[in-house]
Each structure stands twice: as structure tokens, then as C-alpha cells.
């Protein structure tokens, strides 16, 4: 029976020769991601029910990220609960403050994501890891508790939608523009319950970092997962990086596998985009929206807080000054260090930006850059819902790092190609 890569990964995890879309399965979990907001309640649930156990302390990665360093007493209490549990259960891969980072940047960077595996995390953007030819999906605290204790979760095998990325990205256009264009076309529930499978020649020119920006936002189209097949770029990224088990299984979709839809994107025709409030599907090409005044720029997050993103932003800001509050958030300590080593911190400082510790922080309206009533923020994050970054009457505009940096320099939505 012909299967998609998603069906093959889930069949293996279910111990079955084959599964098809719609099947209900119990899947063995290969890796679990735990952070400071959704994991403490999961731990409490298990304790309350007398099933306070961990199925495998080597298959769990723990990092506080949403409110770290702790922003107030309640979040400090969340961190304390997470820390005590991680130490008590001897979680092998625990990244406390100093090594903690934005989870979806940290796990791949630290070599915890392997192709062919089933990965779950107590965070909706867990779909990011699908860029490594894995099945990866976000879950709530109860599912997280069940996965931590049993190592097994039920899933309905998703049908797959194919997205063919043709052409090549023009200068100044990035992978964020590709995913914003896809979500613009299909809507924020256009892939509800589905797996989004990305294929096509344009992927060849994209690094793992750029690809992760695409799979990261699969959830913004309502998808269960986003996936990109294995190739040399994946292999090169993983070589020498994987921790623990260094071998992995490579699955690929059969040529005659079934897709419920196919969407073709001509990447050559894209231009930089900004998604207007209050949905990620409100993308507009910059030629139609340049000039709108902004109050803040935010460059960071699990979508665009990696090294390549910071280089794009610094490329625009070099030798220039920002006109609005600009917050740079390297997503992990390693990125923070590399940013210093490469001289990007100097560029950001000279431009008038502030550089934050790795944190999810203001992306979700937590802290470190909250918006006041009526303020507008150009942001490299993934959501622009009502009140997402602060006051319910503030506005978030989503874009790639070059567009955000150009808009910071001009104080208004600006085409980054002016600064190439």
C-alpha cells in the first residue's frame, strides 16, 4: 500500500506494517519536549493521580523558555516545580537557565531531533521538528502527562496535503514569506487536522533554519503537523550533532501516495510579506502595504530567532539607526554567543536595539516587550491574534527578519530589498 512519509512514521510508531489516513492508533513516543507553562500542570496531574512516573528519562528534553528568566513570583514557582521534577526524575537532557533556550530552536540545535521519529511537546509549535523528516505535533498538558508516564499517545492518522515549492526565492525574500503566502491562500484552518507536506526544488536552497520557519507555522494553518523529506541538508545538519542515539530511519513518501490536495507555490514570484492583524492569514505583499507606521520591532522567537535570521536583520541594520524600539532575542545561548562572535551584537547595539536573553517573552505577550494600547509591532513571530503581544487593542504584523529590520530602520513597514 502506498503511504505518505507521515503514514510511514506513524505506522512504525504503532508497530504496524501500514496505516492510512483516518486510522486510530496508539503510537510510541520517541521524544517529548517540556517547557515551563504546560509541563508543571502535567506533573501535578500525575502526582495527584498517584502515577508520578517517567516512561524514559532519556527521551525527555526540559527547558524553561516562556517566562524565563522568571518574570514574577508565580512564574518563578512554575520554574521551581519544573526544576525539582527534572532533577528528581533524573531527566537526562535538562537545560536550566544559562543553557535554556526557546524550545523549538534549542532541541534541533542541541541534537535531540531525529528523522523518522514521533516527537510531541507541550507547545503548539512543536510541529517545527517536522523539518527533519519526523512526525511532530503539539499537545496540551493532559496529553503531555500521559506521554510522560506511558510513552504512548493515541492519534488519528492525518490525511496529507502536498505543497509544491517551485522556483527559487528572489533576493530579499525568505522562507517566512513562503509560509505566510501559503497560509494566506488556505486560511488559518485550511489544513485543520491535516499533515502539511512540503516538497519541491525551492527547498533545496533553504537551510534547516529556513525550513524550520516553514514547518513552525503549520499550526497557523490548523495542521496537526508539517513535514519536509530527508535530504543532504538534513544529513549535514545532523552529522556530529545528535545526542544519544546517532542512527535514525529515513522514510519518504511513495510516489503514488494519496494526498487530499496539492497546492503549487511559485517561489520566484513572491515578494516580502507582512501579515496584518489579527490573523496570520492576512498576508500582504510589501508593495501593497509599505509605509504603515510602527512603534516596535521584535526579532526573535521559535519562528525566526536563529542565527540566519539575526544575520539577515544585522545585514539591514549595519551602519544604520533604528527609529523605533527594537528588541533582538537570540533564541538560544549558543545563538547568543555566536551573535557576539560574529560581531552582530555590535551592529545591533550601534543601531540602537536592545538584546534580550533567550526567552519566548513578548512573542506571547509574556514580558520583555509588551505593547501598550494602540501600539503596532512588526514582529518575526508566528501569531498576531488580538492581544497576542500585549494590550487587546495593540496590533502585531508578522514578517521575516529582513522586513522587520528594515521597518525598524524606517519606523514604518518597509521593503527590505531597498537595503540589499
Amino acid at each position: 500500500m502506498a503511504m505518505t512519509i507521515t503514514e510511514k512514521i506513524l505506522a512504525r510508531a504503532a508497530g504496524k506494517p501500514a496505516v492510512k489516513a483516518g486510522d486510530l492508533i496508539n503510537a510510541r513516543i520517541d521524544m517529548i519536549m517540556c517547557h515551563d507553562v504546560t509541563t508543571p500542570p502535567a506533573i501535578s496531574m500525575l502526582k495527584k493521580r498517584g502515577i508520578d512516573r517517567v516512561f524514559d528519562p532519556d527521551k525527555i528534553v526540559v527547558t524553561p523558555d516562556h517566562f524565563q528568566p522568571a518574570k514574577d513570583i508565580p512564574s518563578a514557582e512554575l520554574h521551581k516545580r519544573l526544576d525539582r521534577w527534572a532533577r528528581e526524575k533524573k531527566i537526562r537532557y535538562y537545560y536550566p537557565l544559562g543553557r535554556a533556550g526557546v524550545c523549538h530552536a534549542l532541541l534541533p540545535e542541541q541534537g535531540h531531533i531525529r528523522p523518522g521519529e514521533v516527537i510531541v511537546g507541550g507547545d503548539s509549535h512543536t510541529c517545527t521538528y517536522g523539518a527533519f523528516a519526523a512526525f511532530s505535533t503539539g499537545i496540551g498538558s493532559t496529553d503531555l502527562a500521559a506521554a510522560i508516564a506511558s510513552g504512548v499517545l493515541w492519534f488519528k492518522v492525518p490525511a496529507s496535503m502536498k505543497f509544491v515549492l517551485n522556483g527559487t526565492l528572489p533576493d530579499g525574500v525568505c522562507s517566512k514569506d513562503v509560509i505566510l503566502e501559503i497560509i494566506r491562500r488556505i486560511g488559518t484552518d485550511g489544513a485543520l487536522y491535516r499533515a502539511m507536506e512540503f516538497v519541491g526544488p525551492a527547498l533545496k536552497q533553504m537551510s534547516m533554519e529556513a525550513r524550520m520557519t516553514i514547518t513552525n507555522m503549520a499550526i497557523e494553518a490548523g495542521a496537526k503537523s508539517g513535514v519536509i523529506g530527508f535530504d543532504e541538508t538534513v544529513r549535514a545538519y545532523l552529522d556530529g550533532r545528535l545526542k544519544g542515539k546517532t542512527d535514525y530511519i529515513v522514510f519518504e513518501s511513495d510516489a503514488d501516495a494519496e494526498y487530499i490536495s496539492t497546492e503549487v507555490i511559485d517561489c520566484s514570484s513572491l515578494e516580502p510579506m507582512a501579515a496584518f492583524p489579527h490573523l496570520p492569514s492576512n498576508g500582504k505583499p510589501i508593495s501593497e502595504c509599505a509605509g504603515l507606521p510602527m512603534d516596535q520591532a521584535y526579532i526573535g522567537s521559535c519562528t525566526n530567532g536563529r542565527m540566519e535570521d539575526l544575520r539577515l536583520a544585522a545585514g539591514v541594520m549595519k551602519g544604520r539607526k533604528v527609529k523605533i524600539r527594537t528588541i533582538i532575542v537570540p533564541a538560544t545561548p549558543q545563538i547568543w554567543k555566536q551573535m557576539l562572535d560574529e560581531g552582530l551584537a555590535e551592529i545591533f547595539y550601534e543601531a540602537g536595539c536592545v538584546i534580550s536573553a533567550p526567552t519566548c517573552g513578548a512573542c506571547l505577550g509574556g514580558f520583555m516587550g509588551i505593547l501598550a494600547e494602540g501600539e503596532r509591532c512588526i514582529s518575526t513571530t508566528n501569531r498576531n491574534f488580538v492581544g497576542r503581544m500585549g494590550h487587546p487593542k495593540s496590533e502585531v504584523y508578522l514578517a521575516g527578519p529582513a522586513l522587520a529590520a528594515a521597518s525598524a530602520v524606517e519606523g514604518k513597514l518597509t521593503d527590505p530589498r531597498r537595503f540589499l
Binding site: S150, D189, L192, G222, L364, G366, V386
Partner: protein
């Protein structure tokens, strides 16, 4: 007397159901005080125990925060009826023993303030204000089993013998 609170909106997201500024706690009672705050600041004041939220497509989209379900439960909402639900929210409801009612066209059939009586066994909503019986497709058996057991953890505790 379950009253309908109708929001003629699609994509009511988890940031509107429980804003992240309250995610520094997982205390359900505290979360319940802020249920739907950024969508309707008066909701908690208006909602009586057992009342029903009615909305359009893609209810609960966004974050995986189960805090959204806990906030709704703690505000003593009896049910959420929506044209469709976002995947993680839907799953979180079932896992927490809370029944999400998927009803395409709900916004045409239920008006704000209508009095509703829901029969989960038979999959019917009696709209007493309008004198109509509305049918919905009940959850599949495996999901009903989880809800009957009081949520996923009770369910797996029973089925997987985790204490062993």
C-alpha cells in the same frame, strides 16, 4: 436554565480565551476569572453555571495551552458549541473530560440568550426559546470512553495499569 452566549466569530483563539498574561499560574479558579476576557470583558460576570458558548469555525485555534479549557471549565461553562474546533483545543477538551459539540450552522440555529437543554447521549440540543430540536453528531466511542472515565489520565490509568 442553560443560556447561550453567542459570539458570531470564527477563529476565537486561545489568546482570547485565556491571555498569556495569566499563564504564570495553572490555578483553575484564577484562570476562570479571566475566561474570554479579551473577547468579552463581561463574559465572566454574565455567565451562570451551565451556560453555553456558541461560536463559528475553528474555535480554540492557536496555542496548545490547556489553560483555555480549564478557564472555560472554571467559569462553569456547561458546553461549547461551535461550527468546528481547532485540533489541539478539541483534543484538550476530550482529555479533560469536557464535551466539545461540533455543530455546523450553530450560529443560524442559536441566538444570543436562547435557553438550551443538551442531551449528550442522544446528540440533541433542545432550543427551548425557539422550540426546536437540533441534532449534532455525537463524539466517537473512544472519545466518549475517555470522557466517561473522567479524562485521559483516568482512562489510561484504568486501561494501561500504570501502577503496576
Amino acid at each position: 436554565m442553560a443560556k447561550a452566549h453567542v459570539y458570531k466569530r470564527d477563529h476565537i483563539n486561545t489568546d482570547e480565551i485565556i491571555p498569556a498574561r495569566y499563564l504564570n499560574t495553572d490555578d483553575a479558579a484564577e484562570l476562570g476569572k479571566h475566561c474570554l476576557e479579551d473577547l468579552d470583558p463581561d463574559f465572566v460576570k454574565k455567565c451562570r453555571p451551565g451556560d453555553v458558548i456558541v461560536a463559528g469555525d475553528d474555535f480554540g485555534c492557536g496555542s496548545s495551552r490547556e489553560h483555555a479549557v480549564w478557564a472555560i471549565q472554571a467559569a462553569q461553562v456547561g458546553a461549547v458549541i461551535a461550527h468546528s474546533f481547532a485540533r489541539i483545543f478539541y483534543r484538550n477538551c476530550i482529555n479533560g473530560g469536557f464535551y466539545p459539540i461540533e455543530l455546523p450552522g450553530a450560529l443560524e440555529k442559536i441566538r444570543d440568550g436562547d435557553v438550551l437543554e443538551i442531551d449528550y447521549q442522544n446528540g440533541t440540543i433542545h432550543n427551548k426559546t425557539q422550540g426546536q430540536i437540533i441534532r449534532f453528531t455525537p463524539l466517537p466511542d473512544f472519545a466518549l470512553d475517555i470522557i466517561k472515565d473522567g479524562g485521559l489520565l483516568e482512562h489510561i490509568k484504568k486501561t494501561m495499569k500504570l501502577n503496576a
